[in-house]
Symmetry: none
Subunit: 194 residues, 4 copies
DNA sequence: ACGTAAGCGAGACGGTACGTCGAGTCTTGGT
DNA sequence: ACCAAGACTCGACGTACCGTCTCGCTTACGT
């Protein structure tokens, strides 16, 4: 009766299977580094699940990965205790480090893909939003503090630093994530004008 | 005699076929927006070429696209006549515009892919290098001019602006490429410190 | 419980598909008259079946044709009511007629092929054996009756007559199957010694 | 002037190449035991010849094999010195032995193929005819001698014995070629009637 | 002696079929 | 209604030959 407590008839879907599928998807993504290289069959096999159990839940690979990726909630470093510049470096050190992680980088590339705009949207909402909001808050606070100029566009700053982190990955032997973050943040911090 | 003018035995490879293949690959990439969605068979059909003619030249799809992409030589805007900031905006207006082009964006995403590092390297060398070098020259000139501070890291600037352009694409109705470029460049130009 | 009535897990193989494949194989063999001219793809298309459905059941063309051919069970004429010589003529009239049928002849040629000895064995067992046994029985009965000499080797007789039928096919306008059978049987029947 | 001694302009065709091609074709046929398994490319490679050199001479594989097979001229045993029955056994011992030779058997199977009737005709003319004629002569002589009955059809006898030889091949360990030939000839010789 | 014309080897050309793999769907018996 | 298993059709994969077509070079003749 109660539309909330009432359940559909028949055997309920197995949470166990669902978790195994999402876990398998991420594991394989980390291994193969590319969504296209991960087959649904491989996910089903790894999760010890029938293919139908996957297709019952998601219409296709992309939606499955959207959900799988959404389970990743990168922890935020503790913010607001330090000067703004240090907080920014802390956050983008983490972003730079993620760019070195096969899984996180694969997710980012997936996000860049033009063929699945809703997925991009979902990832932005569920995964990136907290961090973006945190940075936006930091910047707003910085403006209030007088630490940064009031005419700054927070979104532009996020895009610059995120994109910079994405592009500045180096082949082995390069700078550490923290060094890279520091360089990026400082460049934006000071500007380049004489 | 001359080891350079001497030719290998047998019928030489058809330049016509090679061109048609590369053209077809790029056309299909622009249509499908994703390397994974472009099949070798479709390229062969579009180029009116046998599959073997493709596999004779490239071991796989990635190498083929690496060459196809290398044929794209984005023209540089004329630089050096205007103040540094205007030149930067001109260049990154072009970059932002490319991010709105399905083909160029697909190429960029391909470049981000971790599974083919040598291809990334080739694209960087052959396609991006002229532009990067141009920006580096601009910045060096700016330092000499006294337009920008001497302690700036040119590569960091390129990464920030390129990545920013890559990430700041908006769904239809957003800012124009030039507006976005201007915003990005100004943010880096002025810095964010009060 | 019962190891015979228990079934393997998963969707069972479609008998419908299997029949369609075998039927298509024989139809195409009759049309093209040569196993080499019949492609698996053509069989799959004719049977409205995926190629994998064929390869799931048979490792290759030869094994498929072995099974297809095994479905051919040439009806035996009614034997034992007539004098032995008439029965032999009846049987070998049928064999001669088969040598004029593209399908049956293609099967016979396939059987002669040295590259697939087990297939030859299977065809002999499943298709030819009943007829051979029938002839052997006839001959044994003939010996008992006193119609034929007791020192005859039944297998030699079968080989002679079968091979004779195989080789004596004529281009259009030749003798009828029955005339040829009669000539062959009579030659063996009477011998050639003065 | 002389249409016989005049030669076409240009470089004459290489007899060396032609021989090598035919030799290679037969060698590969003996190895692979089946015309369908021998590719033109393999013949060209084995003969160290370009494919065009083959296609310049023959329109296709079948015509090439027709010529290759025509170079096989099985030697006739010396006939006419012995009683007819012994001569027949001598000839069909050779036929039985050929049925055990991969090459000769492959040729025979090729001959049975319905898709190339002209080739069959050529092989009959050029390869089999001498032997058939020899057997026919033997039989005619036998009739004259009074060794065999005058109402025998020579062609039927040839077909029976040839077909019998073709069909009576046994897996390893069977009777020798001579034993088989003797059995076949004796069966036809004596007939089976009591 | 030299040009012309066809043959030569090599190997690329557009195709067709191969046998494999994965996509997304369907069909079992059993939970 | 769910589940694992494994069938289904379909389409792309990369390979092997088909028969044809260029290449640069060779061979033989008629001038």
């Amino acid at each position: 009766m109660d539309p909330i407590t009432s359940r559909p008839p028949g055997r309920p879907r197995s949470q166990r299977a669902e978790d195994a599928i999402l876990r398998a998807a991420l594991a394989l993504l980390a291994e193969r580094k590319n969504v296209a290289e991960v087959s649904i069959e491989a996910i089903a096999a790894r999760a010890e699940v029938g293919k139908a159990t996957i297709y019952r839940r998601w219409p296709g690979k992309e939606e499955l990965f959207a959900d799988a990726v959404a389970t990743l909630r990168p922890p935020l470093p503790e913010l607001g205790q330090a000067p703004l510049r240090d907080d920014l470096i802390a956050i983008f050190t983490q972003v730079c480090a993620e760019m070195d992680s096969p899984l996180d980088r694969a997710v980012t590339v997936l996000m860049m893909d033009q063929t699945h705009p809703e997925i991009v949207h979902r990832i932005k909402q569920q995964v990136l939003a907290p961090r973006s909001r945190a940075v936006a808050n930091l910047l707003r606070r910085g403006v209030d503090n007088g630490e940064i100029t009031p005419d700054v566009d927070p979104e532009a700053v996020v895009n610059l630093l995120t994109g910079g982190a994405f592009f500045c990955r180096r082949p082995a032997g390069g700078r550490s994530a923290q060094e890279r973050a520091q360089l990026l943040v400082d460049t934006v911090w000071n500007g380049i004008r004489a």
